[in-house]
Amino acid sequence: MQVVQSSLSNKITGHIISSMHSPIENTDICLWLNAVATSRDKSAFTQLFHFFAPKILNISKSKLSNKTLANEVVQETMSNVWKKAHLFDESKGAPTTWIYTIMRNVTFDILRKLQSNKEDNLSDDIWPMVEMAEVDDEPFSDHLEQKQILSVIDKLPQNQQEVIKGFYFMEMSQEQLAQHLDLPVGTVKSRLRLALIKLRGLLGVNND
């Protein structure tokens, strides 16, 4: 139960945060990454490139204030995406987080080379790519936060509680829930949506 509860808090807050500004279609990105990983699919990579490269370019231009270096960040980051796509594990986090980590690490090493003249590439020791798993079996993680979320869920109307608990505690799909509660899928979806809006308000998550 402990395990389920602690992943619950992550999941709910994570869900709210990502639905706050979720213009990124993670499923598409995952599909492209998978295509690169399994069949070295060049057109999928091209999609990834046109989605991320302009953003990476903007970010690194402002960080490095040097066009050549900014291009180097794009080149290095996207090369790593190509070469390491098979190491991306969807179950361990969003693809955007994975690519962000690569970009941050590449930029860090370039900056360090610039400032300290060191090519020790420490970024992978500081932020190891293999460690990107979420810690969800941490028994003494955030008790307070969990308790808060659990008590907030109890404030929801009974029918919303049912869907929220089924969805997050028991990790049931919306279809499974519909079957389990003997409701149309549409009803489950709208209850879930209402419950999330309400939870967001109760938890004080701002729409910044």
Binding site: H21, P23, V74, Y100, D120, L122, E134
Partner: protein
């Protein structure tokens, strides 16, 4: 029990990759021992990724965005197609090898296993004054100096203040000053406002990052000035 954590501002800069390697490594050492900060870092990274990659063009609907990007070619100041060609000519990287061989250091005959994050950092030759042993971490960060510092049982550092800041990450053992007792994993930040005289009853090993030389405050200790440059 760990009582001293890096401030949230520091964690945000860490996640953004904006801190020097020395301080970033200190936070990594702490996070490996502190599930609370580790989880916070995971959340902050997720958040940083979302805000970095979500931009104004998000006004376009979720599904259509990708399609519309395909239509209007994004602007680059380089030849995107040839970059894509170059990249896709590269072979996939074989599985990442995780090198778990522990690195260690021997100070006055005592061998200490060092945190993983120090795997690729080179260490200077150990030096000693009294009950203090120090080995520089050769990171070449200008006025920021990092060291491994060992205080032998019963040893202490004369009372001092800091011109800049001093970050101490206790790796093994414990020490105390007038503000309390510290244990392994504690992330301690001191600046010019603080004065302290750390002493260790049973001995300890610390990872330290100091941004400016220390200032000794007690009369007789001014004679001990070599220690100032020793610890800095």
């Amino acid at each position: 029990m760990i009582n001293h954590h890096p401030k949230i501002e520091l964690l945000i800069q860490y996640v953004n990759g904006e801190l020097p390697a020395s301080i970033s490594a200190g936070i990594k050492i702490h996070a490996d021992l502190c599930p609370k900060c580790n989880n916070q870092i995971i959340e902050l990274t997720k958040h940083a990724a979302e805000t970095s990659f979500a931009q104004e063009d998000t006004l376009v609907g979720i599904g259509s965005e990708v399609l519309s990007l395909k239509g209007d070619e994004p602007e680059y100041n380089f030849d995107a197609q040839s970059m894509i060609n170059n990249i896709t000519d590269m072979p996939a990287e074989t599985e990442l090898k995780v090198d778990d061989t522990p690195v260690s250091i021997t100070l006055r005959g005592v061998e200490y296993e060092l945190p993983n994050v120090m795997k690729h950092m080179s260490l200077g030759k150990p030096a000693q004054i009294g009950k203090l042993s120090r080995s520089r971490i050769l990171l070449d960060e200008g006025h920021i100096h990092s060291s491994l510092l060992r205080i032998e049982a019963g040893g202490s550092i004369p009372e001092h203040t800091h011109n800049g800041y001093e970050i101490t990450l206790l790796l093994e053992g414990s020490f105390k000053d007038d503000m309390g007792e510290y244990v392994a994993g504690d992330f301690i930040v001191l600046d010019g406002k603080h004065q302290h005289q750390p002493m260790s009853e049973l001995g300890c090993l610390c990872y330290t990052v100091v941004s400016d030389s220390l200032h000794f405050t007690q009369g007789i200790n001014k004679l001990l000035n070599p220690i100032g440059s020793f610890i800095y």
